[in-house]
Amino acid sequence: MTDTVVSVTTKKDWSTDQEVRWCPGCGDYGILLAVQTLMPELGLKPENTVFVSGIGCSSRFPYYMETYGIHGIHGRAPAIATGVAVARPDLDVWVVTGDGDALSIGGNHLIHALRRNVNLTILLFNNRIYGLTKGQYSPTSELGKVTKSTPMGSIDHPFSPLALALGAEAGFVARTHDLDRKHMMETLRAAHAHRGTSFVEILQNCNVFNEGAYDELTGRKARGEMMIDLRHGESIVFGENGHAGVVMGADGHLRIVEVADVGLEAILKHDAHRADPSLAFALARLSADDLAASSQRWTPTPFGVFRDVDRPEYGAMLGAQLARASAKMGRGDLAGLLRSAGTWQIT
C-alpha cells in the first residue's frame, strides 16, 4: 500500500491577485479567510474546485478564490452549480449566496437544489439586508425594520433559512457566524465532508447597512449565554457551566430551562443523524419567532450542525443510470440510433 500523495497547498495558493472590494469591516472578510485557510487543510486542489455565486456582496466571493469560478446572475447560482456538478462529479462545487440572492429571487432554485441533493456545498451569508443595492430590507429582516424601501417599518414576515432548508429536506443543515473562525471552519469541514447538498447559514455583519445585527447574539459578551452549541450525541446545554438546556415539553414544543430544575437526563440529546427532520426543524424554529419580531427580543439560538443524514446523491444516481444504460444497450452507436424507429430500403 502506498501513501496517497496529497498536493500541499497553502492559504496563499487559494488567494487571487484581485483587490478585495468589500467595505472595510465587512463580515465577508472573515468568511473568506476561513475558507482560504480551510482549503489546504482539506487537501483539495484549486483546479478541481469551482465556486459559483449569484449577485450581491457575498457573490463577489469567487473573484477572490484562486479556483475556477462563475459570478452568475441573481438567484441562479444553485442552478448553474447544479449544471457544473452534474456534468462533472469529479469537481468540488461550492455556492456562495446571500439572504436576498438565495431566499428571495433565487428561492425556487435553492429549495430544489436541496431537494435534488446534488453534490454542492452552499454557503448562505445572512446579513438580513440588501447591501449591494444600498440598504433595502431582505427576506430575513425582522418585522418593523426601517430601511429605504420600508420607511414606516417592514410589514413583510421573514423566514428562517434553516427552517426553509429543512422543509426542503436538505440532508446537511448548519449555522455558524463570521466572528468565530474556528467554528466556521469546523462547520464548513463537516459540510464539505457530507455527500449531497450541504447548506450552511453564516450569520454575517453588514457594518454599513445593518451594523451590529447580531451583536446581542454573537458578540463576545453575549455569546456565552445566547449561543447554543449543538454537538451530535451530546445534551443540548449552554451558558456558563452548561446551566441552561433545551427540553421538549409534553405539548411538543422546545423550551429553554435551567438544567438544575429538570435534571440533565431531561435535556434533549442532539442527534444530527435522525432521519426525521422535525426535531432539527424545531431547533431551527427555537428562536425564529423572536428573531422575526419587531421587538428583536433575542433569545438563545442554536449553532452548529442541525442535520447530517445521508440521502442518495443526484449526480451519483444519474451516473449509475448512464452506466446501467451503457451496460444494457452497449455504448451509443449513432448509426444504430438513426435506425432505431425502423427503416425501409428504396432501391
Binding site: G69, A81, G342, Q345, I346
Partner: protein
C-alpha cells in the same frame, strides 16, 4: 386472394391522396394517423404529416374544441406538405364533422361514424338537424358506417366488455382506410401485437382493425380501393421522422461529432417536450438530462455544464425562451458555447400552445438586455432539424457563444421519410480545450488569459475545471479585453461591446452563401425561413410547372445573414417574405438592406397552404407587370 376481394374491381391508382382523421381528443386519432403514415412509409410513398390537436388533454367530449385531427398526404412523387385540402375525411363524431368539413375538397370522400350522430351528440355542437339527413353534405361522397357498434360486436365476441370495446373504434377506422388505400395489413397487426401489453386490449384492437378492413372489402359502400404507388425517391435506407426526434438525434450526433458529452437542462413545455423525452432515452450515449425546476434553472444548468466542458443544451418554446433571456445574456457575456432550442408555437403568452407559429424571430434576435447578439439557426423541415442541430452546435463550439435554434410546432410534430445520412460523412465539429498558459505577465511569469481571443474567429479560449494552472473566474460584470479581469472603464466596455458584436457578425464568413432555387431571372423572389419551406417548395413547383418564373431563397442562418444576401435580393423587382408572423424577417431584411421587401403573413396557428403562396406570388407578379 379471398373470394370477396374478387368481387371487387381492381384498385384505382392515384398519384397522391390527402387523408384526414378527425375525432375526439380521446379517440386516438393521432395514433391511427401515425400508424397509417408508418404503413405508407414502409410501402415506399413519399409523405408529409400534420397533427392538429387541442391544448386540452381531454376537452369536453363531443365538442368542437375537443377535436383532434391528423392529416397526412401520401404520394408517388416528391412532396413537402401535408396537402392543402384533404380528399378523404374520417369524422368520428359530429364535432369532428363540424370542425373539419370545411377543409374537405368538393366532391371528397367523407366517412362518418353513424353511431355518434345521436340527438344529444348533434345538439352538443349546435346541429339543429342531422347533417347526414339534410343537404349539408350534398357536395361530398358520404359513406356512413356504424363504426362503434361494429367494433363492439367484433370485440365483445372475444370477451371484451362493451365499454372497453368501444375504445377500439379508431382501429376500425384505420382498418377501413388501410383497405381503401391498399395498405398491407400485417404491418399494422404486427405493431398492435408488439405495442399493447394487455391481452384483451391487444385482441380488441386487432379485432377492430380486422373488422374495419373486412368491412371495406365486403360491403358495397366503396366501389373499389385505391392505390398510391411508391414514390421514386433516391435509393437508400429511410426512416420516418418527426422534427423533435430529428432534433434530439441531431444533438446526440453533435455530441459525438464534437467528442463532448451532451447535457440537457429542460423544463416540460409544449411542443418541445418530446426533445427532452428523446434525449432522456440516450443515456448510453452519455447524454445527461435534468428536468429542472423551471425554465431559468434549465438554462442555468446548461450554462454551468458548458463551463464544465459539456455540450450544454436547453430546450423550450416561446414563453420559456422569455424566461431564459437573462441567462442567455450571461452566456453572451461569459462567451461559452450553449444551444437554446425554441420550438415555436402561437403566442403571445400561453397563446396557442399546440398550434404552430414562427413569431419568435424577434425575441431570438433582440430579446436580451444590453448589446447581446448571438447566432440564430432555423430548421426548415422535420429531417432538417437533425442537421440544424449539428450546425447550431458547430457554431456554438467554434465561436464560444450561445446559439438559438428555431424550430416550430409544425415541423416538430410533423413527419416525413428521411434518407438516412452516412454518419461517417457528418462533419467533425470538435474544438480543443485550452490546456496551456497563453500569456506572459510583465514580471515574466506565465499566466492564463480567459479573454485572449483567436484573431480569426475572435473566440476566447475554453479552459475547463480540472485543468491545472488555468483557474479563472468569469462573470456577468464587464471584463477587461484579454485578461478577463473586471473592468468598467469606458474605452474597455466600448471595445468589448464591439468585439462581441464583430465575433457574431464574422460568422457570416463561415456559413453557406444564400442560393437561389428556381429562376434567377425571375421578377419575384420568395425569401423564406423555417417551416414555410414545405409550402414554398410546393408553390414554386406549381408556378414553374405552368411555365411561369419565380425565384426562391431559403435561409437557415438568420443571424448573421449570409454575406451575399443583400446583393442577391437587390437583383429582383419584388422580394416576398412569407412568414407565420406579422413580418419579422421582412422588417430585418428591409432595415438591413434598404430593399422594399413585402411581407406575406399568416397567423392562424396553421402553416401556409401552397395555394396561398401561389396566389401571393401571382399577385406580386401582376404588380410587377403593371
Amino acid at each position: 386472394m379471398t373470394d370477396t376481394a374478387e368481387r371487387k374491381s381492381a384498385p384505382e391508382t392515384l398519384s397522391r391522396v390527402v387523408v384526414r382523421f378527425a375525432g375526439d381528443s380521446g379517440d386516438g386519432m393521432q395514433l391511427v394517423g401515425d400508424r397509417f403514415t408508418s404503413a405508407s412509409a414502409m410501402f415506399g410513398n413519399d409523405l408529409s404529416t400534420f397533427p392538429d390537436y387541442p391544448a386540452e388533454i381531454r376537452a369536453p367530449a363531443g365538442t368542437v374544441n375537443g377535436v383532434s385531427s391528423f392529416q397526412v398526404q401520401i404520394s408517388d412523387h416528391d412532396i413537402t406538405t401535408p396537402g392543402d385540402a384533404p380528399s378523404v375525411l374520417i369524422a368520428m363524431n359530429p364535432a369532428a364533422l363540424k370542425a373539419d368539413l370545411g377543409r374537405l375538397e368538393q366532391g371528397g370522400l367523407l366517412i362518418v361514424n353513424r353511431d355518434a350522430f345521436g340527438e344529444r351528440d348533434l345538439a352538443k355542437v349546435g346541429y339543429v338537424t342531422n347533417p347526414l339527413d339534410d343537404d349539408t353534405l350534398a357536395n361530398y361522397r358520404v359513406v356512413e358506417v356504424p363504426m362503434t357498434s361494429l367494433t363492439v360486436q367484433a370485440a365483445t365476441e372475444l370477451g371484451v366488455k362493451p365499454r372497453d370495446a368501444e375504445r377500439s373504434k379508431n382501429f376500425f377506422a384505420l382498418g377501413m382506410i388501410s383497405w381503401l388505400f391498399s395498405r398491407p395489413r400485417e404491418f399494422t397487426l404486427d405493431w398492435i401485437a408488439a405495442r399493447f401489453a394487455d391481452e384483451l386490449v391487444r385482441a380488441s384492437n386487432a379485432a377492430a382493425f380486422n373488422a374495419g378492413y373486412h368491412f371495406g372489402e365486403t360491403t358495397e359502400l366503396f366501389d373499389h380501393p385505391f392505390q398510391v404507388e411508391s414514390a421514386h425517391m433516391p435509393a437508400g435506407e429511410y426512416t420516418n421522422i418527426t422534427g423533435n426526434v430529428a432534433l434530439a438525434w441531431g444533438l446526440v450526433a453533435a455530441g459525438q461529432l464534437a467528442n463532448l458529452p451532451v447535457f440537457l437542462g429542460s423544463y416540460p413545455i409544449t411542443p418541445a417536450s418530446d426533445i427532452l423525452h428523446e434525449l432522456s432515452k440516450a443515456k448510453h450515449f452519455g447524454v445527461r438530462t435534468v428536468q429542472a425546476e423551471d425554465e431559468i434553472a434549465a438554462a442555468g444548468m446548461a450554462l454551468g455544464a458548458a463551463f464544465a466542458g459539456h455540450l450544454g443544451v436547453t430546450t423550450t418554446s416561446g414563453p420559456g425562451l422569455a424566461l431564459k433571456s437573462e441567462t442567455i445574456s450571461l452566456g453572451v457575456s461569459l462567451e461559452l458555447p450553449m444551444i437554446i432550442v425554441d420550438v415555436q408555437r402561437g403566442g403571445p403568452s400561453t397563446g396557442l400552445p399546440t398550434k404552430t407559429e414562427a413569431a419568435d424571430l424577434n425575441i431570438a434576435m433582440f430579446g436580451r438586455h444590453g448589446e447581446a447578439p448571438l447566432p440564430i439557426v432555423a430548421a426548415y423541415s422535420p429531417s432538417h432539424c437533425f442537421h440544424a442541430a449539428i450546425e447550431a452546435a458547430r457554431i456554438a463550439l467554434k465561436y464560444r457563444t450561445p446559439v438559438i435554434l428555431l424550430s416550430d410546432g409544425y415541423i416538430a410534430n410533423g413527419s416525413e421519410p428521411w434518407l438516412l445520412p452516412d454518419v461517417d460523412s457528418l462533419p467533425d465539429i470538435s474544438v480543443p480545450f485550452q490546456t496551456e498558459m497563453n500569456h506572459v505577465a510583465p514580471d515574466g511569469t506565465d499566466e492564463y488569459w480567459p479573454y485572449l481571443r483567436d484573431p480569426e474567429t475572435l473566440a476566447r479560449p475554453w479552459a475547463i475545471p480540472g485543468t491545472p494552472g488555468l483557474m479563472h473566474r468569469i462573470g456577468g460584470l464587464e471584463k477587461e479585453d484579454g485578461s478577463g479581469d473586471i473592468n468598467y472603464t469606458p474605452a474597455n466596455h466600448d471595445k468589448m461591446t464591439h468585439l462581441r458584436a464583430n465575433k457574431i457578425a464574422g460568422i457570416a464568413r463561415d456559413i453557406p452563401a444564400a442560393q437561389v432555387v428556381g429562376d434567377a431571372d425571375a421578377a419575384v423572389c420568395i425569401l423564406g425561413w423555417g417551416s414555410t419551406w414545405a409550402a414554398i417548395f410546393a408553390a414554386v413547383q406549381r408556378i414553374r410547372s405552368r411555365g411561369e418564373k419565380v425565384a426562391w431563397v431559403h435561409l437557415t442562418n438568420l443571424n448573421p445573414l449570409p454575406a451575399n444576401l443583400g446583393e442577391l435580393l437587390r437583383g429582383f423587382d419584388t422580394v416576398l417574405v412569407p412568414e407565420l408572423n406579422l413580418g419579422q424577417l421582412c422588417r430585418i431584411v428591409r432595415s438591413e438592406y434598404l430593399i422594399d421587401a413585402q411581407s406575406v403573413s399568416k397567423v392562424q396557428g396553421l402553416p401556409f397552404t401552397s395555394a396561398e403562396l401561389e396566389h401571393a406570388v401571382s399577385g406580386a407578379a401582376k404588380g410587377v407587370q403593371q
